[in-house]
């Protein structure tokens, strides 16, 4: 991720000090009512789907809930959804931590290359991965098949934070433990694992939330979960009560996961107290285990990367020979790029007030406003889309089926991706310039244009890029909210693959993978910084 030029360590404390000593006179500038109102609007938009479903549940009442929720079908979906989420978290945990240990701590050859290859599956959307597997092995429509495909798509979510955490660990602790007689396994279990806990939990939470939200991959594998059932309900009854109540149960599951993660993470920290740089890690020699380790990594990369890319290449060749719809592909690509650019601009603009307040007006209000957007974005795309369909058709019929509603859905789903880098950029830009400009009589808008935005440009750019890439492969919300006649790469891929026209679907998938690839390279670079090369 790009960073603005560092203001230099000594500057920051000085600036903060002067700001504090200037007293309360200048504080209102940083927390102007306009900024606060804007951030409150953004938070309200994020919570809109949640509020809608909650309000609807109250409206339906207990008897309605009992009739729509307490039925065998919901029990079946609950069982399917939770066992898939639990299984995927377990498999991704083993794959992610194992691969991270090999890359960060062992003597396995080619660690730099393996790192990039282990992040690369993120460039293949899960529904494309699923398409590849089911087109090769139609018998994969079982629990085991769903577990395999989803785990191969999501294990990098665990691998990335864990490998970063490994690199942040001071090897001195491990060496001391080994010196005191612990075996390699005991060192891992008693010294390293506790320190990896926060990273592992964070990654597992991401995996579980993605499983709850996954639609395309599971629909293709005929594995019914809440998300696919809501889609079926939507097709049969539009925004009927049964669909909305299923969405309510799904939201509860998301909230439970968020709470569980907070509880499990706890308050214990493992920050090192020693100053200075940690010594480079001495890799654990694998000796005879080198070949099995290489085979394991190759197997994982082969399954997670080569199978989908190979299948895609095969169907691409097949589809091209049968005469692909190049005009359709060009239009869908253009539409997708335009929508993604618009969503990136809008979402980043919306992230600005929230990210600004989180740094410049630290406090309970700012934290609440920021967390509200995280909560909103943890809801599955199908729930957000369903809520926006109903709300727009009832409250703003003139907006229904238009681009702004679709952009609002993208914003709700992807705001944190913009807020995090914007916030980091605000953190790094000293408030001094803003204060000086204000003292010279520059107006608020003028300062925003001439001081704040140029200073925050790298953060805004990074946030916009992340949103852009997320929108390029968004399927579920787009299916429900796209305006009449609008096809994106994801929806065009979906209709072709639903008609089992694998050759016709492949070009759309290939373009999505190509567009996602640069982000993946960036992601792998970011965590490669650190003591190990």
């Amino acid at each position: 991720m790009l960073r603005s030029p560092s203001p230099g360590a000594p500057v920051l404390p000085v600036v903060r000090g002067s700001g504090a000593s200037a007293g309360t006179a200048r504080r209102p500038l940083r927390r102007s009512p306009v900024t606060l109102a804007l951030a409150a609007c953004v938070a309200a938009l994020s919570l809109l789907p949640l509020a809608h479903i909650a309000g609807y549940t109250v409206e339906v009442g207990w008897s309605g809930v009992r009739e729509l929720v307490l039925r065998p079908r919901v029990g079946e979906l609950l069982w399917n959804t939770t066992r898939l989420a639990a299984g995927t978290v377990a498999v991704c945990g083993v794959l992610g931590v194992g691969a991270a240990w090999l890359v960060a701590r062992s003597s396995v050859p080619g660690r730099g290359l393996w790192h990039v290859l282990l992040v690369a599956p993120l460039a293949v959307p899960a529904f494309v991965n699923s398409f590849a597997w089911i087109s090769l092995l139609p018998g994969l429509d079982t629990y085991a098949g769903a577990l395999l495909v989803v785990s191969l798509s999501y294990f990098p979510f665990v691998y990335l934070p864990v490998v970063a955490a490994f690199r942040g660990l001071d090897p001195a602790l491990e060496e001391t433990a080994r010196g005191l007689g612990l075996s390699g396994w005991a060192v891992f279990r008693r010294v390293q694992l506790p320190q990896l806990r926060v990273a592992l939990l964070g990654g597992s939470l991401l995996v579980a939330l993605h499983v709850l939200a996954e639609f395309g991959a599971l629909q293709m594998l005929r594995y019914p979960t809440f998300t696919t059932a809501i889609y079926d309900q939507y097709r049969a009854t539009f925004n009927g009560p049964a669909a909305t109540m299923l969405a309510g149960v799904l939201i509860l599951l998301c909230l439970l996961l968020l709470l569980a993660e907070v509880r499990l993470r706890g308050h214990r920290g493992y920050a090192g107290s020693g100053r200075g740089a940690a010594r480079p890690v001495r890799p654990v020699p694998l000796r005879a285990l080198t070949t099995p380790a290489l085979l394991a990594l190759a197997g994982l990369v082969g399954l997670a990367l080569l199978v989908p890319l190979g299948a895609l290449a095969y169907w691409l060749a097949e589809g091209t020979s049968a005469g692909a719809d190049w005009a359709g592909l060009a239009v869908a690509t253009g539409t997708t790029l335009a929508l993604a650019a618009a969503a990136a601009a809008v979402t980043t603009a919306m992230a600005l007030p929230t990210g600004w307040l989180a740094v410049r007006a630290r406090g309970r209000t700012a934290t609440l406003l920021e967390r509200a957007t995280y909560l909103g974005s943890s809801l599955p795309g199908i729930v957000v889309a369903l809520a926006l369909v109903t709300l727009s058709i009832r409250a703003t019929p003139w907006l229904y089926q238009t681009v702004p509603v679709l952009l609002a859905a993208y914003a709700i789903l992807f705001l944190p991706r913009a807020i995090v880098p914007v916030r980091a950029a605000v953190e790094q830009s000293p408030p001094l310039y803003d204060d000086v400009a204000a003292s010279l009589g520059s107006s608020g808008l003028d300062r925003l244009r001439r001081i704040t935005l140029p200073l925050l440009a790298p953060g805004l750019g990074a946030g916009a890029a992340l949103v852009f890439l997320a929108v390029v492969t968004e399927l579920t919300a787009t299916l429900l909210l796209a305006p009449t006649g609008t096809a994106t790469l994801a929806t065009a891929f979906w209709s072709a693959s639903s008609a089992l026209s694998y050759g016709g679907a492949a070009p759309y998938a290939a373009v999505m993978v190509l567009l996602s690839a640069p982000a993946t390279v960036l992601l792998s670079r970011d965590t490669r910084r650190g003591p190990t090369p």
């Binding site: 005929r222 079926d232 006649g485």
Partner: protein, 335 residues
């Protein structure tokens, strides 16, 4: 350096939003909500714009989705004409009082069995329910005599259905109209135990072709279209017709209607008249869509068994009830 970039983004966003918003409210364009297969509708209406000067804009989606959308939109619906794949969806809109009566001349173009008694919409194509089966997996003599037998425990794990799709739900609505609520609930409960659920009719055909399940409930034209393309997906599968007025011989009617809220009712009526007229019906019969033409005196594609031989049960297409079907399917857990 960043300013021009941002301006460009903002301008292009606004342009995109404006252009996409603009195309939905054009005065001399009819907005058609269509759940029928895109290629079929476009083929039938190929010369319509040239002959009449009326431009068409389509919103393509699934039956129930569009019907419920029109009902939600009510008077404010941008739709002028509604085309469905199956009749329960258009009946739901009719029952909500949102359809305008059609010109008698238009109704008269189509045989009476393909239109409702209300006269507020008209059929423009028909499709027959069939059982697709894999002769390598199951002998012809083992095939059920009635579609209702598929609920027997003997069929556990051996039948494919696309429960989430409008086609299957239309077939259920016919069972409901012919056999009543109790029998339909029992049949659905049996299917819930027995059936493998697929996402589409094409997926069922592929599964049967590959021997995943020996039989599946689909409409006839998926197999015929596939055969016309040299059996790409279903070359190892064959079709079984139930006939004998069995619910499994149900002929599902694709309906066309004019919205009462249309601001161009004359042009909308003209479109439905065209769709059911001889030219469009003959175009359907000559196309690769391979659904049945319903226009009086127009015969369907030669590859298809004639309509009269299908021995379809007698169902008023206007009586089919989508909401009750959804409720029953939710009750037994198929939805």
């Amino acid at each position: 350096m960043t300013r021009p970039g941002r301006t460009t983004v903002v301008v292009s966003t606004l342009t995109l939003a404006a252009s996409l918003a603009a195309c939905s409210s054009d005065a001399d364009t009819l907005t058609v909500y269509s759940a029928q297969h895109e290629s079929l509708v476009r083929t039938m209406l190929e010369d319509f714009t040239e002959e009449t000067g009326i431009e068409l804009e389509f919103r393509d989606a699934n039956d129930s989705e569009l019907a419920n959308q029109i009902i939600e939109e009510g008077e404010a619906s941008p739709a002028d004409v509604f085309l469905t794949e199956n009749s329960p969806a258009i009946s739901a809109v009719d029952r909500a009082g949102l359809l305008a009566p059609l010109d008698q001349a238009t109704l008269d173009q189509v045989d009476a069995q393909f239109r409702p008694s209300s006269g507020n919409w008209v059929g423009f194509a028909a499709r027959s329910t069939t059982l697709i089966y894999n002769p390598a997996e199951i002998g012809e003599e083992e095939l059920p005599a009635s579609m209702l037998e598929l609920a027997d425990p003997a069929w556990e794990g051996r039948v494919g259905i696309a429960a989430g799709g409008a086609d299957f739900q239309a077939i259920v609505s016919a069972v409901l109209a012919l056999e009543g609520e109790e029998a339909t609930r029992e049949w659905l409960a049996g299917l819930e135990d027995n059936a493998e659920i697929y996402a589409s009719n094409t997926a069922i055909m592929k599964a049967v072709d590959e021997g995943e399940v020996p039989v599946g409930i689909t409409y006839h034209y998926y197999w015929f279209r596939d055969q016309a393309q040299d059996g790409l997906i279903g070359d190892d599968a064959a079709l079984h017709y139930f006939r004998n007025q069995d619910p499994g011989a149900f002929l599902s009617v694709s309906g066309a209607g004019v919205l009462a809220s249309s601001d161009q009712p004359e042009q909308a009526q003209q479109l439905v008249e065209y769709l059911t007229g001889r030219a469009a019906q003959e175009r359907l019969a000559g196309s690769r869509a391979l659904e049945y033409a319903v226009g009086s005196g127009v015969s369907s594609a030669e590859a298809l068994p004639p309509l009269a031989e299908l021995q379809a049960p007698d169902v008023d297409p206007g009586s089919l009830d989508a909401p009750q079907v959804t409720e029953l399917m939710q009750e037994v857990g198929l939805l």
